[in-house]
Amino acid sequence: MKKIEAIIKPFKLEDVKEALKDIGITGMTVTEVKGFGRQKGHTEIYRGSEYTVDFLPKTKIEVAVADSLVKQAVELIVKAARTGKIGDGKVFVSSLEDAYRIRTDERGDAAV
């Protein structure tokens, strides 16, 4: 089992979700995060005080998938999330040692 973490532009969430659904991945966990990277932030001025907001709103998707699906899933995510403009985000893959479904005590691949 692997965990795929993808940091994407928020408005791409629907697209990524749909893409993953197509290969039968119907579980994921999503977090609102703020990203810092090459994409420049913006400046807000309030009565003369200037604030550079470096952190941009991003969405983090976490999906646990069976090893067999990883490659396909990553490809689909990359494709669905791409706009081609700076700030599109990253996908990270790491390994999971185990997984449990709380409701049923199922374990491992059956649980994700």
């Binding site: 807000e44 001025i45 309030y46 009565r47 003369g48 005080s49 604030y51 907001v53």
Partner: protein
């Protein structure tokens, strides 16, 4: 120290004992003629003195319904300016962790100042004493009943005038807290404010508005300085604004000021507060006619136009300078227009109000953007930049543009020679004196309160965590 909470209770009980004592019976006046009776009714319409005055017993007692209706509305509007208007305007501009501290301060001031006003504040301010301070004759509102006090309003019950003025006494110290937001101890703020009411507000309001105030050019023949201040340019905005500057300098900057982001945590709420302030300001300015008459209506119109012009000018400058007009710009400009027209609102014509609004928007923009940046004081929410600058400019411009065309009272003998001539100089004198008095008093009181409260500022840790949690045990938002 905690025993001070017993005091108001005792005072209330004392006041109860002193229920309105019927004064010495006045000599009975003759029954009015029909002509006099009609004359009284016409006086009501014209907001003029009763024709029966001293001549016959008037058949109409107390105030007049139309004027009272407007003044009750106005008093409610001015209360609404503080609660929740100003609380939102200021609360939206601070960081999320401090919104409740601003709200607590506004609420606490409403509570405490009302009790002070009742106990002796009103009496010291509007009671007759000498040019410098009123007396104690109206302590615990003795003698403040439903008959008009004709020094201040021909057809409005004395108690209505009293409660209307209370709303001004509440909002003035509440304006000040904008400058020292996010870092001063709650206890210190309250103590400072109580002292400040006695040392700055009650006296200054008496000087300018008291029937025997020594700067009351409009109503006091014996005034040394012939100043005019329709709705509080000097009394409200200059006292609070200049004190705010002094206090925020004494206090020092917020931790991380200029380094960490300190954006408004909710411009949306700030804008809501702005709308409430604008609407409430009609009670503030038009209500200051103490009648629903032509002067009130003119003040209503000038208030609208100046607010609109300010609300146009500040963002217009932003648009020119940086390309984007901001909501904070619109809000700041509107409030600047409102604060600046305040002293002039009942004295100038609508065209002048537009001009004043434009000047207001430009000058306060300059103060908040250029001056503040240059001198690097931390006037957190720009009480100085908006209220002191606006109030000061408005006070002087009122002197320049006041005209009997807008306000017949300016035609009174005691003042008419100044109008259209050197009135602005009187304004300058009065303004300067109040300014100096406010600043000096603030600095001294700040030292005193600092000694009493073991410092004015919260600890660094508290400032980091936020005042809401530590000083009030709550958070503004959950979940």
């Amino acid at each position: 120290m905690k025993t001070i909470y017993i005091l108001p209770l005792v005072a209330a009980l004392l006041a109860l004992a002193g229920l309105p004592v019927a004064g010495a019976e006045a000599p009975k006046l003759p029954v009015p003629t029909l002509e006099q009776r009609v004359g009284d009714l016409e006086s009501y319409m014209n907001n003029a003195a009763r024709v029966t005055d001293g001549k016959a017993e008037s058949k109409v007692g107390g105030g007049g319904p139309g004027h009272s209706a407007w003044m009750m509305t106005s008093a409610a509007l001015v209360l609404f300016m503080t609660l929740p208007g100003l609380a939102l305007f200021y609360g939206g501009l601070v960081r999320r962790k401090n919104i409740l501290s601003l709200m607590a301060q506004c609420l606490a001031l409403a509570g405490v100042v009302s009790l002070l006003w009742w106990a002796c504040g009103y009496s010291l301010t509007f009671g007759k004493g000498n040019g410098w301070l009123g007396g104690f004759q109206h302590a615990f509102l003795q003698g403040v009943g439903s008959d008009p006090n004709t020094d201040y309003g021909q057809w409005v019950p004395h108690s209505l005038f009293m409660v209307y003025q209370l709303m001004f006494a509440i909002i003035t110290p509440a304006l000040t807290i904008g400058a020292i937001a996010e870092r001063m101890k709650f206890k210190a703020i309250m103590l400072f404010s109580v002292f400040w009411m006695f040392v700055v507000y009650f006296p200054a309001a008496h000087w300018v508005w008291g029937a025997d105030g020594w700067m009351n050019g409009l109503a006091n023949d014996a005034a040394k300085i012939k100043a005019i201040d329709f709705a509080g340019g000097i009394v409200v905005h200059m006292t609070s604004g200049w004190s705010a500057l002094a206090l925020c300098i004494v206090l020092g900057k917020r931790l991380g000021y200029g380094r960490e982001p300190m954006q408004p945590h909710s411009m949306a709420l700030c804008m809501v507060g702005t709308g409430m302030l604008w609407a409430g300001w009609y009670g503030f300015n038009a209500g200051s006619a103490v009648a629903a008459d032509g002067v009130a209506v003119n003040a209503f119109v000038t208030t609208t136009l100046s607010a609109a012009a300010g609300c146009f000018t500040w963002p217009a400058i932003e648009y020119c300078v940086r390309g984007t007009p901001s909501v904070l710009g619109f809000c700041s400009g509107a409030v600047a227009g409102l604060a600046t027209i305040t002293p002039a609102s009942g004295f100038v014509t609508p065209g002048v109000a537009v001009l004043i609004g434009i000047v207001a928007g430009a000058a306060t923009w300059f103060a908040c953007n250029v001056i503040k940046a240059k001198f690097k004081y931390d006037d957190s929410l720009d009480t100085f930049g908006v209220h002191a600058v606006g109030g000061t400019i408005g006070t002087i411009l009122a002197g320049v543009f006041a005209t009997t065309a807008a306000n017949p009272n300016l035609g009174a003998d005691r003042i008419k020679a100044f109008v259209g001539s050197t009135l602005w100089l009187e304004q300058l004198k009065a303004g300067a004196l109040v300014l100096v008095w406010s600043v000096v008093a603030t600095v001294i009181l700040a030292k005193l309160v600092s000694a009493l409260c073991d410092g004015l500022r919260v600890s660094e840790e508290v400032e980091t965590i936020g005042l809401d949690l530590v000083e009030h045990g709550e958070e503004g938002y959950h979940g």
